[in-house]
Symmetry: C2
Subunit: 254 residues, 2 copies
């Protein structure tokens, strides 16, 4: 039996500690390739580079840096680096910081995993929550375990697992749904050295709603959180409702 | 009664024709503000600019350009331009080109609308499908109608409407779910003028699966497609399944 083919990416960049820990942890499970951004790409979400060509720089036997986004990396990894061989698994991370709740929409880590799902490859995103002192040791070990399980059991098409590891030794594992956060202050006004106004996004600390069953609640209680996320964002319940209310919406004849 | 407060944004940029048509079409519905990127931002997805401050340039009484992404524009629009007044509606578009199926993950147009939903504001994304000759006239008229309905009826929290207008006069309206597309060729190898290899993403034409009930099928048959999208990407069915299979996953003690 050929060993599983595993592609690793992230959004913190090729030279980050988290991706090193992840690649090392997965090393014994199969043939591991790393294709990651050449620099930090946090909050780039699912951005794809279409306006310019990308560079692929080989930094190790199975290690490449790309001057693009996490989504670019997965696309080039599958479409170019692996030369037509489809990976059995894509693992994205280990991200420096949580990717929970609404924030998964901004996350390059989660988007790299979604890109794999779009390409039909099972995928896991792994993030290390940072609230105090922490160690990647638990995250590396857990990434190896969950990767083993997904390689063995598979995942349904269109689904990825979003894993968040608490800062201190996890008490156990919880399957969760996404939580809700609100930021206290969205925009901070500033003045540049030439006296012109400018604006920073994201001033205040995030405030999480502590709702039972969510990723945030699990991590807050000291557990590792695993949230199944679906590629298809259609709201099926809402679609049924709209269909039943079509007359009231009165949109024909426009 | 104060007129509704409407914020308009897009990903094609402040100077694009589509946003002009949209702002004009919505003008009679209320107080319309435009906050849009200062240049094209296609495929930037939900990217948020956190590493540098943003510039806000006033170009009209109620028109501002931002040197950032569509998500930045909605954040600055609500957090700075409107100075604490919450819009009644955010409309993003009219995008030059379709935003259907898996592609909504890459879309700056759809992400601007999602950012509004995160901020608790009802939102609509409007895209003009371009397959041949087209006119924004139908799209502008329809944007006005659907905006009127959403202002009147509201939308549940966490939901946006993703509208795609066919290239020729629409036969009517269909409520749809997201379709599936596959690209024929993902990566195109190229050589720069100095002889170095580089790689373009997205060579081949997209191939759509013509599945009944999807956005693509509706537009393909000549109808305007409206897909309700949900902010919460949790796969609830998969979550129930995982909870029922927790013993088989055997993830404790890690």
């Amino acid at each position: 039996m050929t060993p599983p083919l595993i592609l690793v990416s992230n959004d913190d960049g090729y030279h980050s500690e988290g991706i090193r820990v992840l690649a090392d942890a997965l090393g014994s499970l199969g043939e591991v390739w790393v294709v990651a951004p050449d620099r930090e790409n946090s909050a780039v979400s699912h951005a794809l580079t279409l306006s310019r060509p990308l560079r692929l720089t080989q930094l190790a036997e199975r290690g490449f840096a790309v001057d693009g986004t996490p989504t670019d990396c997965v696309t080039l990894g599958v479409g170019q680096v692996l030369k037509g061989r489809t990976p059995d698994l894509v693992v994205s991370g280990i991200n420096f910081g949580a990717n929970m709740g609404d924030d998964v929409h901004y996350s390059g880590t989660v988007s790299a995993a979604f890109e794999a799902v779009i390409l039909g490859v099972p995928a896991i995103a792994v993030s290390q929550v940072i609230w105090s002192e922490f160690s990647y040791a638990f995250a590396g070990r857990f990434a190896r375990l969950i990767a083993t399980r997904v390689l063995g059991r598979g995942l349904p098409p269109g689904v990825l697992l979003n894993v968040n590891i608490p800062p201190s030794r996890p008490k156990g594992v919880r399957f969760t749904r996404l939580g809700k956060r609100t930021y206290g202050e969205g925009v901070v006004e500033d003045t540049d050295p030439r006296g012109r106004k400018c604006y920073w996004i994201g001033g205040g600390d995030p405030v999480w709603e502590d709702i039972p069953g969510t990723d945030y609640a699990a991590v807050g209680a000291g557990y590792t959180s695993i949230t199944p996320l679906q590629l298809d964002m259609t709201d099926r319940d809402q679609l049924l409702l709209l269909d039943s209310e079509v007359a009231a919406w009165d949109l024909e004849g426009s």
